[in-house]
Symmetry: C2
Subunit: 424 residues, 2 copies
């Protein structure tokens, strides 16, 4: 069935569209498109036009999500009018981080559009909505997922009241864009949400595979810790009489790394570290550091985080310092729908590697409400959130092929009570 259209051409066009949309930026030639920034309007206009040309009806909702709707067609043995819930949602996000690449998020939207283009001439018994979520990265309001949260009815007054660096609230930003930030109550109904996204990591490349099926979006344990020692003169304080906060923190950073290496599938990162007073001739008195621990199994992650914090406390104690945990958060793993993972696997026709997503995605917000699945596309060099972010055309073609077959299978699997021939 896929043979009816040239998937390769559609995939290449999806890539070209990503490259074209990268020009709509707050900060050209760098890519930077934060929540409802002026270039978002151009993106909505252009993508909306492409959606319309593909036979979709287009709307922008009250949080700036761009939604294109393609109606399913009645087929033999199926009812004339498909019940409303029998629709699939395909999408990802249209916003970007500062100095971004061209594919993070937007590729998933362009592939959703390409799926519609691939099947539009056929009469699949399923409706297809393509969503371009307006805010996933969380740059403007330091809060990610505003778009997908609004889409599933999770926007509340507190979220609308968040303010950006200029003091503009979410509600004000929405109104300034010409939209009405009404709170949505009922989440939409879909049989599935499919999100294609670049992997943003090096796993598929290291396996030499074009695509992967995501098993879940890993939970995260985040902490801020502070090693409190005693600042001292770097010249006059002998090594054995120091309580060096940086030496302690450094020992701990090594322990964070070795502990994570010891747990299959885990990652643990100290990415931020501040030294006080931070002068070359003063022994550090205080070091504040971040900790980010992720694993697709919640219990494993929590255990690893505890082990790492325990190491920090032991290191501090042994050196006459104190370790304070000054903040943190816990996010549970969001598993992807297992039935949909199997559908993806059958759609792929061959064995496709499965992997957990270490990064967060809109699918993490949609999954509790809509059965959700994700397809990762290999990231050359594992690079993301960087101008060097790239995709390989053959990988995108493979992803599109699997996405089209996935939608065909959903349509073919459709066998609701309404399919019984009517008597009248």
């Amino acid at each position: 069935m896929v043979e009816h259209v040239d998937i390769g051409n559609l995939a290449r066009r999806a890539i070209e569209r990503c490259e074209r949309l990268a020009r709509y930026s707050e900060d050209p030639p760098r890519v930077r498109r934060t929540f409802l920034s002026p270039p978002t309007r151009a993106v909505h206009h252009t993508v909306g036009q492409w959606m319309a040309e593909a036979g979709m009806t287009v709307r922008v909702d009250g949080m700036g999500n761009l939604i294109g709707a393609f109606e399913g067609a009645p087929t033999a043995g199926k009812p004339e009018s498909l019940p409303v819930p029998f629709r699939v949602l395909i999408g990802s996000h249209l916003d970007s981080v500062p100095n971004a690449g061209k594919f993070d998020g937007i590729l998933g939207v362009m592939l959703g559009l390409a799926v519609v283009e691939a099947v539009r001439e056929r009469r699949l018994a399923i409706g297809i909505d393509v969503a371009g979520f307006s805010e996933e990265e969380g740059v403007r309001f330091a809060t990610p997922y505003l778009g997908s949260k609004a889409f599933v009815g999770q926007v509340d007054e507190a979220m609308l009241g968040l303010r950006d660096a200029d003091g503009v609230s979410v509600a004000e930003a929405v109104r300034a864009f010409g939209l009405d930030p009404t709170l949505r109550s009922a989440p939409p109904e879909y049989v599935a949400y499919l999100e294609a996204h670049i992997e943003q990591g090096p796993v598929l490349e290291s396996l030499d595979r074009p695509i992967g099926i995501v098993t879940g979006i890993s939970g995260q344990s985040r902490r801020r810790v502070r090693f409190v020692g005693r600042a001292a003169h770097a010249g006059t304080t002998p090594m054995n009489l120091r309580r060096d906060a940086l030496a302690a923190a450094a020992e701990w950073v090594g322990r964070v790394e070795s502990s994570a290496i010891g747990v299959s599938g885990a990652v643990a990162t100290v990415g931020s570290l501040q030294v006080s007073p931070g002068a070359s001739n003063v022994v550090a008195g205080e070091v504040t550091a971040s900790l980010d621990v992720r694993h697709v199994e919640d219990a494993t992650r929590v255990r690893l985080c505890e082990e790492i914090l325990g190491s920090g406390a032991s290191i501090a104690r042994a050196r006459g310092l104190v370790l304070e945990v000054v903040g943190g958060s816990e996010h549970a793993t969001v598993p992807m729908d297992s039935r949909l993972q199997q559908t993806l696997m059958r759609a792929a026709g061959a064995d496709v590697p499965t992997l957990a997503s270490g990064g967060g995605h809109d699918a993490a917000i949609l999954a509790p409400v809509i059965p959700s699945c994700m397809l990762f596309v290999r990231s050359p060099g594992g690079v993301s959130h960087h101008p060097d972010e790239a995709v390989l055309p053959g990988d995108v073609e493979r992803a599109l092929e699997v996405m089209v077959r996935f939608v065909e299978r959903l349509a073919a699997d459709y066998n609701p009570p309404a399919a019984q021939p009517r008597k009248d």
Copy 2:
């Protein structure tokens, strides 16, 4: 001889004077007295008055150093008029770091004054100059020792042209203070320079000793190094595929510490460390760190610094990173005069611990020109450059007693050709 005066009273008065002078600050109640700042004038006035009351003639030189001169007296068998060079210089500095303590530098000046007060009623065959150097800390012009360098004739046009944060040059600051920044050519001649200073470290306290004799001012090797790895997503980049600059730097910080511990008398410090991009969810791509290595033996210090940099390069290589050395400087050790160290030891009458000074002092500038020695006074808690900086009255009394006996011994040792009775 010391018995003639109450050394304990003079020591207590020296401490009280330090506490009183601490009120002359740019930033009360914190102590902050940078080069020729307005409170310096009040310090000059007050200390100058005390000097005059002790029978000294007072002057302020072209770099703002306050000098009090006490003339020696002829004694039996010695000439009526002492030759000019037969003078001893005692002093330290009157400026301070921001948020300073009350004793760093200024104690050495007050003890010089107390020595004059202790011996003034006797007729010692030696002149005593007391110097309050105007700039040792280097806060205002980011260049230490302006005062002592000017005193020994090492001020050049480049130094006078240095500018502070407000764009004011050294020459302009000197003129604004009402002085003439003429360059001095010939260094002054003294038989000895004696500087008493708080230790600013915990060694004497750990030995439970009130004072120590300084063997030399340790040389320093300073470097800035940069570990260059690859920034990556903290969630999507498996541990084995990272080139984490912070993990590498942390391993190196541990090696800096263990290498220094392995060399007796050495200290090595990483006191400053910047992580880029420095976000909690991004693996560090680059870390810049400082290195400060000190040892009283130059060859030992240079060898240790090389070993530490070699470790860094190995660690970087093993992790697929690059280590760049982006800056640095070398300062050789300045030994204190060995004969004067013996004179101090004899003046002390008992065995006094000897130790290297890890910090820099005016004596490091004077030593190449004038035979120099230093006495350290115990620093409770090893604290310095901090409001908690303190001294114990008994320790100051012991220091003063040794200083007075040191000057008496210099005077007693005076036996120049001119001592032969004149015939006329």
